[in-house]
């Protein structure tokens, strides 16, 4: 009989790890609290830098793990260790034992309404990056006007923001904003698109090309300066005040749509797990790896492994690579026991 490996979280990290564990001859068991696999990525439209389809990625992974055991809409009741074996109790009454547990609980989107000054939930035409992806995937959203004249993006919403309690950079939002700006420009060529940033952190493969495209081919305006306040004019348009720190001038812009690039914070489930089996939380609020360079996928507890955004903000390729690495680490760990 094949050995169980419990994977907490059925996002791309959990799925990729399950895929590798199947190949290595294990019986991965995915515990996912929502009704479908794929996590955040399943809600997205296209992925940078090649505008590949997020849906195709998720679909492919789902195909690959068809043989794995998956519990959807399921939560953990308890997680306990006796010697080298973990006992997992699910809320559907199932009890599993496993010598290794992979935590792939991922991130949670920063609640943009906490930055009330940006007006999310207050004004009619303020949405988040995730709302925009969902809309591009076909979800109705009456906050998005039929023919917007001007559109703004606010970078770093809840990222690198001590006042919001998050000092970390969410890594993907700069590029996501550029991607979404291009996508909106393609749909609404007449609209003016403004990106308000404090830094552009375009570290990944082809990200810089993306940025050049956005400026050169699509005429997206990049303004260095944070938005200070968002208001509504009498005719229902948004009016934002910002400072162009390169020109050293305050500016006012009227917009029909404002997209907030909400950052990543650690999924609160990870913290609940940490309480149960005494895992450490790092200073950025994410789970603490045994070593942030040499052993990012390992915890301070034997048999508990990490993959993906539960240990920090990650891009999709980073998450997938970590999931593969975690599968191999688990394999090595179980072989040596």
């Amino acid at each position: 009989m094949k050995e169980n490996v419990v994977i907490i979280g059925g996002g791309v990290a959990g799925m990729e790890a399950a895929k590798q564990l199947l190949t290595l001859g294990y019986n991965p068991v995915i515990v996912e609290r929502s009704a479908q696999l794929g996590g955040h990525v399943a809600g997205w439209h296209k992925l940078f830098p090649d505008m590949s389809s997020a849906q195709e990625l998720v679909k492919g992974l789902r195909r690959d793990i068809a043989e794995a055991n998956v519990f959807l809409e399921t939560r953990l009741n308890s997680l306990q260790r006796t010697k080298s074996v973990y006992t997992v109790e699910l809320n559907n009454g199932v009890r599993l034992t496993s010598r290794a547990v992979l935590i792939a609980s991922g991130f949670e989107l920063f609640d943009a309404s906490k930055k009330e000054e940006y007006g999310y939930g207050v004004y009619d035409h303020v949405i988040t990056n995730a709302d925009l992806e969902a809309w591009m995937n076909g979800r109705e959203d009456n906050r998005i006007p039929a023919q917007p004249q001007s559109i703004g993006f606010v970078h770093c919403v809840g990222s690198r923001d001590l006042k919001a309690g998050n000092s970390q950079c969410s890594k993907v939002c700069c590029t996501t904003a550029i991607k979404q700006a291009i996508e909106l420009k393609e749909r609404f060529p007449e609209a003016e698109v403004y990106c308000f940033y404090m830094d552009l952190r375009l570290f990944g493969k082809k990200y810089e090309d993306f940025y050049i495209n956005a400026q050169r081919d699509f005429g997206v305006h990049f303004i260095r300066g944070r938005v200070s306040e968002v208001g509504e004019t009498i005719d229902g348009r948004l009016q934002i005040k910002a400072e162009d720190t390169l020109l050293g001038k305050p500016l006012k812009v009227q917009l029909d749509l404002l997209v907030l690039m909400s950052g990543m914070v650690c999924n609160p489930i990870a913290k609940q797990l940490a309480d149960k089996i005494r895992l450490q939380i790092d200073s950025d609020g994410f789970l603490k790896s045994r070593d942030n360079i040499a052993a990012i996928g390992e915890s301070n507890q034997p048999g508990i492994f990490y993959a993906g955004a539960c240990t920090g903000t990650k891009t999709v390729p980073e998450t997938l690579a970590e999931a593969r690495a975690a599968a191999l680490s688990i394999h090595t760990y179980l072989m040596n026991q």
Binding site: E116, G165, Q239
Partner: protein
Amino acid sequence: MIDRIPSGFHPFVIPFLAGMSFVFLYCILGVVKIIYELSWAERRKLFLSLINPKYIYKNLRDIFLDCLIHVKLWKRNKLLGYMHSSIAFGWFMLIVLGHLEVFLFVPGRINLFYYPIFFNYFVAEDAVTLRGSLLFFLMDFFLVIVLSGIILAMIKRISSRLFGMRRTTRPSVMNNIGLYALWAIFPLRWLAESFTAHISGGSFLTVPANYLFREFLGNDLNMLPTWWAYSIALGVFMFVLPFSRYMHIPAEMLLIPMRNAGLKIRSARKGFARVQVLSCPNCGVCIDACPMTVNRGNVKDCTVYLTRQIRRNNERRIDEISDKCLMCGKCEALCQVGVEGPNLRLMQRATRSYRISPDFRDIDTEPMIAAAQGSKVLYFAGCMSRLTPVIPESVLSVMKKAGVDCTWMDRDDALCCGRPLFTAGRIEEAKQLVAKNEEIIIRSGADTLLVSCPICYKMFLENYHLPGIRVVNYIPYMYDLVKQGRLTLRKSDVCYVYHDPCELGRGCGIYDEPRKLLGRAAAIAEADKNKVESICCGGSLGSLSLNFQQRERMTKAALDNLYTSRADAIATACPLCKATFARYSDRPVHDMAEIIDART
């Protein structure tokens, strides 16, 4: 009762006499200096109040109730109240009764300064006076009262927690000398009076002790040394007094008439400020009160240490302490003496000079005046409401529902009310903004200025001159609308805890209307510390040097206090409190305007 010592003098009175003369001289010179430091107008105000019967009565009453009986302390903590009033009032009565004894029995000695203090040494009982007569009884009675207070003080020094104080001040060297001298005075007095009780007479405390001592010792050789010791203890206390916290005893007697006369702190160190600093009894109530002292941090930045550093002229620490404060006003509200810690800091901040100062005098107000015109009610949301756009949206929506025609003064271009500059001590710059805003408000043609931000509201109330214009906070205004029937509230099942913002509660004294208004829209629970004891959210603009990590700890502590109510949600009436709490709260935080808007 007859004079026992024909000369009426003994050298043991010298330590007391020297100490007493020193204190007297010091205080008289101090008063002269302080009066000299006052401005002409302040002096006039003070002197006029001192000859006004109404003020004379008020001053005497306040001095009696505050300095002797410690009424405020009784209200707050019975044990501490008893401890202080037993020592202060008991001692006072011993002095009064001592004088009465001299006056009745040896009237020829009334001009001798020390006679009432050492009465029992100088007199002998004769057949005329009665043993254990009323005066003797009272003297012993008040001595017992004082001794019980001293015992409590000793216990408090060992464990302040028994007295409900989590933390207390670390005494300085001078305070310790004064403390031990004070503790020694009354047991020594008891011993001294006991040793002479068979000569001078006594009552229930001294007479039995006298029998006991003579039984054991068999002679009178201890009589003089104890009287010497008693006098030396008094002398030491008097000499240390001006350099220790016990200076608050004479200083408070000057503080009360000055405060009653309406004097304000106008300088960082001089005049009224000096009296305030000297009046601080170093009790340390402000340490537990201060929101910055969460997790044992910042204890040395409380008002008690500010006054201590001002007395030591430690400029570096005075600056640090003055800058750190959140200016929430809780130390002042809970201070038994009423030391105005925030104002002392404000004046210290105002002593700075800046190399670059903004100049607001050239701002063109014409477009703002045009935008403000049109209604009788002018609404000012304030800069902080830019962080919480829900608040002005809700206020305007409520006004619309109540049929109040209202113009939003700072909807687009607007000026700051000036309070952040003011609390930073940049009072001249703040005044420039005040002048500009006054022009806009007066020329808008409105008769009511509606303000939702309590920070601005306090500024408008205290620092603006707006003749004929009613400045009103949105909470009482909305409550009036509800009472008039112009707004109908549907009560919800949600249970709210109301957080008193510093500026609205302690700052403007508005505690009841928010609760009454909220009570019509939802269920209310109270937090452990509320109203005057409400804990600052930590977001205050008052502090110039606290960092985010320190503020975060304060916010979490303030939230923990609100959680004690077990309410489902938090209600507040300040944009800054809302924005600060929303960052860390585990339950929703709503402004009063939002709640009222949702329930109408």
